[in-house]
Amino acid sequence: MSALSPSEHDTDVAERQAVLRARHAELFKPFYESHWRAIVWLVLASGLFFYGLSSLEITVARIFGGIGQLGKMVVLMLPPDAGRFSFYVYAMLETLAIALLGTLSAAVVAFPLGFLAARNTTINKIVQFSARRSFDTLRGVDILIWALIWINVVGLGPFAGVLALFMSDLGSFGKLFSEAIEAADNKPVEGVVSTGGTSTASVRFGILPQLMPVLLSQVLYQFESNTRSASIIGIVGAGGIGLILSEQIRTLELQQMSCVILMILLTVSVIDYFCSKLRFAIIGKGAL
């Protein structure tokens, strides 16, 4: 390297910078030129946001007034009052029972239907298409709406809740199961067939061993999410702890309400914990 005087050094750097600039011209464009797409999207998104705020009548005053009110309510919630503890525990058990039966019955019914909705095991295209669309429709209707419909049929109470969970889970399981069946590897089936196995044997020893861990983990996951759903369907009268919760908030029994909310949180966490343990055990076995 030749020795450069300071001024020579500066011109050298400037020259090299100019070369770099020319080589990566797109990086040195002004900000608005390189990011105009992002800016347009941002303006549109925030425009819609503020339109939403104004058309839904959301004002700063309302928000702060509400937060003040909320603060007062939180103070009134403390300490949690477990006055009718056994009553709450029974309602929580009812919630769990609804979740378990809804999940399980939907899984049992969705299992054969999943084969009909899967591309590789279905009877024909029309059956597959209509099965898929039916599952979509079942899922498209919310659990609370199903609960309202079933209350008209079997009356108020947890049974309506079980049926509501069943309908909505049937849609989810049908979709998930058929996707899992479509993703199954065909080589084990060919292996069974090549040893002279029947088609029943090829499903039992070729497809089921791949499928079972996936399906079971999906059922467990759904059970977790159903515990949450089952704890709110009581709001429309379909059994479980939601009924108690909505009554307490209407009558402003806030201390009892905070106890019930804590119970829901605790139960959901415990269920989540055990389900994830169980799921890990099942998937671990399947991976071996």
Binding site: A45, L48, F49, Y51, G52, L53, S55, L56, E57, I58, R62, I63, G65, G66, I67, Q69, L70, M73, L93, E94, L96, A97, I98, L100, L101, L104, D136, T137, G140, V141, D142, L144, I145, L148, I149, N152, V153, V154, G155, G157, P158, F159, V162, L163, R228, S231, I232, I235, V236, G239, G242, L245, S246, I249, L252, I261, I264, L265, V268, S269
Partner: protein, 285 residues
């Protein structure tokens, strides 16, 4: 005994153990089902006795007041379409505003919940517990409480959606951030960048498309959620749906349900397309 016999004996033992575990599991499950059946007041006789009501319910919601099939007079069926579409629009706006608010909060918090970006363990722990709390409480419960505090209308619904979204998206975002390539982060640190520089120039470019995809998925979920928040008076089309179901306006029930289902399916289709494009963009470079 030769080694083959030993092996087959060990195999038989292992299989027998597995079988025993399976049967034990099935017995425990059956006991749980029996107990649950008792608690949940399952009655098959009631079910089969009243199942006719279920099919006839769908028959009734498929027919107008004058007894004609709904499709024979769609103008009569959708007589309140202006009101209903307005309410559906309100529902969509609620879902949008709620998702945006929750998404922004999740974006701010997810870096604090990621061990590789935030070295302070206490901050990570506290942020994670907060996110966990906000997603474990069902949004309906938040809505019930907020309706009392903020009075009826879309505002409590939006806040309930926003809090739940913060918890759900915050967790997913943090998981994405924890799986990034750390080399760009090291690069920014080596040039003397601050925490904000680190996030802006090393982390965000890696995670932005994933974040957007998760946020769209959440929007989809929130549209469904917003459609029933009206059941507790938290705005949207749910209030109307509850009314028409409770008052047995059968044709209106099917009309409102059709509007909800069609909108949900439309939103699903659109967001799925956008998400595929976003994730495709990520793989390209």
């Amino acid at each position: 005994m030769n080694s083959l016999d030993l092996q087959s004996a060990a195999y038989a033992q292992a299989v027998a153990l597995k079988r025993r575990q399976l049967w034990l599991g099935i017995v425990v499950l059956l006991i749980c089902v029996m107990v649950s059946g008792q608690i949940a007041e399952i009655s098959l006789s009631k079910f089969f006795h009243h199942i006719g009501n279920f099919t006839s319910y769908f028959y009734r919601i498929a027919h107008l007041e004058n007894g004609q099939f709904v499709l024979s007079d769609t103008a009569e069926w959708f007589w309140g379409w202006k009101k209903w579409l307005g309410l559906m629009g309100e529902t969509l706006l609620m879902a949008y505003v709620g998702t945006l608010l929750g998404g922004c909060a999740a974006l701010a918090l997810c870096f604090l919940a990621s061990k590789n970006i935030t070295p302070n363990n206490t901050v990570v722990f506290a942020t994670r517990r907060f996110l966990e709390f906000s997603r474990t409480v069902p949004e309906m419960v938040f809505a019930l409480i907020f309706v009392v505090a903020f009075s009826l209308g879309p505002l409590p619904g939006i806040l309930a959606l926003a809090i739940h979204t913060t918890g759900a998206l915050g967790k997913l975002f943090a998981e994405v951030v924890e799986n990034i390539d750390m080399k760009p982060v090291d690069g920014v640190i080596s040039t003397g960048g601050s925490w904000l520089h680190k996030v802006r120039f090393a982390v965000l470019p890696q995670v932005a498309s994933n974040f957007a995809s998760y946020a769209l998925l959440r929007f989809e979920i929130n549209v469904r959620g917003a459609a029933v928040l009206g059941f507790v008076g938290a705005g949207g089309i749910g209030q109307t749906l509850l009314e028409v179901i409770r008052k047995f306006y059968y044709a209106d029930v099917s009309a409102v349900l059709v509007i909800i289902i069609a909108t949900v399916m439309l939103i699903d289709a659109i967001t799925e397309r956008v998400r595929h494009r976003l994730l495709g963009q990520e793989r390209k470079p």
